[in-house]
């Protein structure tokens, strides 16, 4: 079992096990599925490409006239400019899908715009659309030549391998003569003569597999370069892995909370209860009574300490009741007077990473208000806008909050970014300060 599986065909070609792996077959599948796509693309662009081909022929014969050239190239450019990007879109979409056959790395599917109007605007304004058009032009011009080369090689090797069958005398031949086939300078008339050619054909199969792989890799690399959105996909993959990491942390924190609650907290409560029971058995004037009272008080303090600690690790109200209830609980715990507004449309439950991040953001922001801003009150607003959950914490304090001064805002921004959200801060000197956190809230 190799430790590093190749993720795309070019990497596979470089590996010594290429011929024994699945990759030649994947390359073959890629090439076969490319043929109809290239065919349609070449056909659609033929009104533009054929006149050019004609002119190239004229040029070769030395009789080129410039008037048609100007006309044809002008028409081609105008046509491409007007409809090319629209035409390119379905091809680009299809080619991105096909890319997966020989390349398991993620590919960026570009922006998905809602309305037809914005999609149309995008088609003419976005550089990506023009890159897609360039790809379509390559599909209609360069690709047919490259694929024809491979087709010729396949045909040639195929002929070599089946040559014994071709030279078998065919009784129904119209001319009544034995078939002879010509392979280069040699005439073959019997299957036995063809035998070395069969060997040669078989020997050429591995190079053919490499050629197929190279063609598929070239096609895929071109598609990735022109349709891949410039590394966005890799970034997205990184973002996804970061989200997974956040999820794992949250799950771990919940596990620790559950363990502490079911174990330590429970036993401490039970022990404190036993101390209370023991105290009941002692007369008030006994020397042990005072010591036991102290121990009981100590144990009660420890219960509070542990409860707050566990709450800090993973707020139980959040796990049990969801974000709106937990934010109200947070507000009630705060030394400030905090008003919590939950707009209509906000659900009780969201994916736990969203809930945790939103809660953490509100908690951090309220903590900052209590520490720095010096007002007696703050307001928390929870709202939903489309697929975005918005948490706003506002205070009428001194303002001038500066992420660079290490007020915990940087850590908060990191945490928010890790789940694909963003943090906005408005804090002019003199206040008010508004911290706004936007989180994508689809599961």
């Amino acid at each position: 079992m190799p430790s590093e599986q190749p993720r795309h065909v070019l990497a596979a070609i470089a590996s010594p096990r290429y011929l024994l792996s699945e990759w030649p077959w994947r390359a073959l599948l890629s090439v076969l599925t490319a043929l109809p796509v290239i065919g349609v693309a070449a056909l659609l662009l033929s009104p533009i490409t054929l006149p050019w081909a004609g002119m190239l022929v004229q040029l070769a014969e030395g009789g080129l006239r410039t008037a048609p050239l100007v006309l044809v190239s002008g028409l081609a450019i105008v046509g491409l400019a007007m409809f090319g990007t629209l035409l390119a879109a379905p091809f680009a979409a299809l080619e991105r899908r096909r890319l997966g056959i020989v390349d398991s790395r993620p590919v960026d599917h570009g922006p998905r715009n809602g309305t037809v109007a914005s999609w149309l605007a995008d088609r003419y304004a976005a550089p990506a659309a023009w890159r897609e058009l360039l790809f379509l032009v390559l599909l209609a011009t360069v690709a047919p030549l490259a694929y024809a080369t491979l087709a010729f090689a396949v045909f040639f090797v195929g002929i070599l391998i089946i040559s014994p069958l071709l030279v078998v005398k065919d009784g129904k031949d119209l001319a009544g003569v034995a078939d002879a086939i010509t392979l280069g300078p040699w005439q073959l008339t019997t299957p036995a003569q063809a035998f070395p050619y069969v060997l040669l054909g078989l020997a050429l199969l591995p190079p053919l597999a490499y050629l197929t792989g190279l063609l598929a890799a070239g096609h895929a690399a071109t598609a990735r370069a022109l349709l891949g959105g410039g590394g966005q996909a890799e970034l997205r993959e990184v973002a996804r892995s970061r989200t997974r990491l956040v999820d794992a942390f949250d799950a771990e924190r919940r596990r620790i909370e559950r363990d502490l609650h079911d174990g330590a907290q429970h036993r401490l409560t039970s022990m404190t209860l036993q101390l209370g029971v023991a105290r009941l058995d002692l007369p008030d004037d006994s020397p042990a009574a005072a010591a036991l009272d102290r121990a009981h008080a100590e144990a009660k303090d420890l219960m509070v300490l542990l409860r707050d600690l566990v709450h800090g690790i993973s707020p139980q109200t959040l796990a049990d009741l969801g974000l709106p209830a937990a934010l109200r609980d947070l507000a009630a715990r705060s030394p400030l007077a905090v008003a919590v507004t939950v707009e209509p449309g906000v659900a009780d439950r969201y994916p736990s990473r969203v809930e945790n991040t939103a809660y953490f953001a509100a908690s951090e922001a309220l903590g900052n208000v209590a520490k720095h801003a010096g007002p007696a009150s703050a307001a928390v607003r929870l709202a939903r806008q489309g697929d975005t959950l918005v948490v706003e914490v506002r205070d009428e304090g001194r303002g001038g909050a500066d992420p660079a001064r290490g007020t915990g805002l940087t850590g908060l921004a990191d945490r928010v970014a890790a789940v694909g959200g963003r943090l906005l801060l408005s804090s002019p000197a003199g206040g008010p300060t508004l911290v706004r956190v936007e989180l994508p809230c689809l599961p």
């Binding site: 429970h266 101390l275 009660k300 609980d329």
Partner: protein
């Protein structure tokens, strides 16, 4: 108050369940069934018909509000059933739902940590069995911590008095707390009841209703 109060106890933690049962046995309570989840609680109550039910809110399988739901179900079938729920944390909405069941009497909402103050805890249980309403001081404090509009027409002093009423103190005890005369407390309570528009019939009931009005006016805390 019966000579011996028969109790059904529901708490999923074995240690604490045993500990609580031990404490209850020391006083005038007999634990007739000690169970670890809501379904067993309902079965035990149906089988034993106890004088008092004590249940934790957070129990298996989902560890959310099974105990509360069981308590509400019990109160729905028998509005006079004495029920005390133990809550992990202050959740005013739970308290409000509980107080809304039956006529808001013979119920208690206590924080779980309160059980270690044995004298207070046992006192609260007795109060509930005797027809009272007990709300954990912390819950009330939380409700009154940040004054908001709903019962805004009450003065600061009236708020204080209402908080103490909600904690179950008598007028005399409130007078001692606030170092004012008992007559002054009576006047405050009268004003509160008037401002909340509560009819002057049974005073205990009016006090409970005042607390209920307060809790309902702050369902979002």
């Amino acid at each position: 108050m019966p000579a011996v109060t028969r109790v059904v106890l529901a708490e999923d933690g074995v240690l604490l369940r045993e500990g609580l049962a031990g404490v209850l046995q020391r006083f005038e309570f007999t634990v007739v069934a000690a169970v670890g989840d809501a379904a067993a609680l309902l079965d035990a109550v149906a089988a034993e018909d106890p004088d008092l039910v004590i249940t934790d809110i957070r129990m298996p399988p989902s560890f959310t509000d099974e105990g509360l739901r069981a308590a509400l179900a019990l109160r729905a079938t028998d509005p006079g059933r004495a029920v005390v729920v133990l809550s992990q944390y202050v959740q005013a909405e739970y308290a409000a739902r509980l107080l809304d069941s039956g006529d808001g009497r013979r119920v208690g909402y206590l924080l779980k940590d309160r059980v270690v103050d044995i004298a207070d805890f046992v006192g609260a249980l007795r109060a509930v069995v005797n027809g009272g309403t007990v709300i954990d001081p912390d819950v009330v404090r939380r409700l009154l911590a940040h004054r908001r509009d709903p019962v805004a027409e009450l003065s600061a002093r009236e708020y204080e008095v209402l908080a103490l009423v909600a904690e179950g103190h008598s007028n005399a005890a409130i007078a001692r707390r606030l170092t004012i005369t008992e007559a002054a407390v009576g006047k405050h309570v009268g004003n509160i009841l008037a401002k909340l528009g509560l009819p002057p019939d049974d005073d205990t009931n009016r006090r409970v209703l005042a607390v209920l009005a307060y809790l309902r006016s702050n369902p979002e805390t």
